[in-house]
């Protein structure tokens, strides 16, 4: 059940992310990218397997974690990916701000001087 919900959430995130990326506005494009990377993170989380276990921390005085534990690797991957997409997004926003100041437009179609 959880997996189904997550699968739907991933689909919605991807769909809305891609929809926003089709727009001409750069600000929407960047929001779309953010949604897309959230979708990817959720995808890793779901694909890594949902065991419903506890945090994989070994209690003091024993050698192995007790009971069912969650796979820590997808969480580590997602944390890394979140950090990276945070940095990329921050950079993209600063870039958007600078471009807007320089060109006074938010329209991808009008930024064609390097294409001609």
């Amino acid at each position: 059940m959880t997996e189904l919900m997550l699968a739907i959430a991933i689909g919605v995130l991807y769909a809305s992310g891609l929809y926003l990326m089709m727009r001409r506005s750069i600000a929407r494009f960047i929001i779309g990218l953010a949604l897309l990377s959230h979708g990817a993170n959720l995808l890793i989380f779901t694909a890594g397997g949902l065991s419903g276990g506890r945090a994989p921390i070994i209690p003091e005085g024993s050698d192995a974690p007790a009971g069912l534990i969650a796979d820590p690797l997808p969480q580590a991957l997602i944390l890394t990916a979140i950090v990276i997409s945070f940095a990329l997004l921050a950079f993209a926003l600063v870039l958007l701000l600078r471009t807007h100041q320089e060109t006074e437009t938010d329209d991808m179609e009008k930024l064609r001087s390097t294409d001609a």
């Binding site: 945090a55 003091e60 921050a90 600063v94 701000l97």
Partner: protein, 142 residues
């Protein structure tokens, strides 16, 4: 933005958040927490201060240049990795030491802690740099 409530609160909250961030940093050794979360918490303290007063005041509070802070953090993390190499093991191999100061006060510390402190500084430095740059860009634009 001038809000008396925010200013007064920020003045008291600032040291508390910093203290909490260091607690989170050390707690990360055996429990959830660590350098990354700690660094973010510390950055949030400076950002709160910048919101309540202004970016200049927050920069002054940081005392060192945020890029320099990042560099020192990277250097610390790098050094913690080199400790493994120095012992003839691969890069980043953890090394541990145990010091008995009194009967009940035993300090166990190792290079992962150094690495975590490095991460803390890098995250603080980078986050503060980005957010201050954005906030200043906003001031210029308006």
């Amino acid at each position: 933005m001038t809000s008396l409530i925010l200013r007064t609160a920020a003045r008291y909250l600032f040291p508390l958040i910093l203290l909490f961030s260091i607690y989170v940093l050390f707690r990360g050794h055996n429990d959830p927490g660590g350098g990354f979360v700690g660094g973010l918490a510390a950055a949030s303290a400076y950002v709160l201060y910048a919101l309540a007063f202004d970016v200049k005041a927050a920069r002054g509070l940081l005392r060192v240049d945020s890029a320099r802070l990042t560099a020192w953090g990277l250097l610390l993390a790098l050094l913690s990795g080199l400790a493994g190499l120095a012992a003839g093991r691969p890069f980043l191999t953890a090394r541990w030491g145990k010091w008995t100061i009194t009967e009940t006060w035993i300090v166990k510390a190792g290079t992962p802690l150094l690495f975590d402190v490095g991460v803390y500084l890098v995250v603080l430095g980078v986050t503060v740099t980005i957010l201050f740059a954005l906030a200043e860009g906003e001031d210029e634009a308006s």
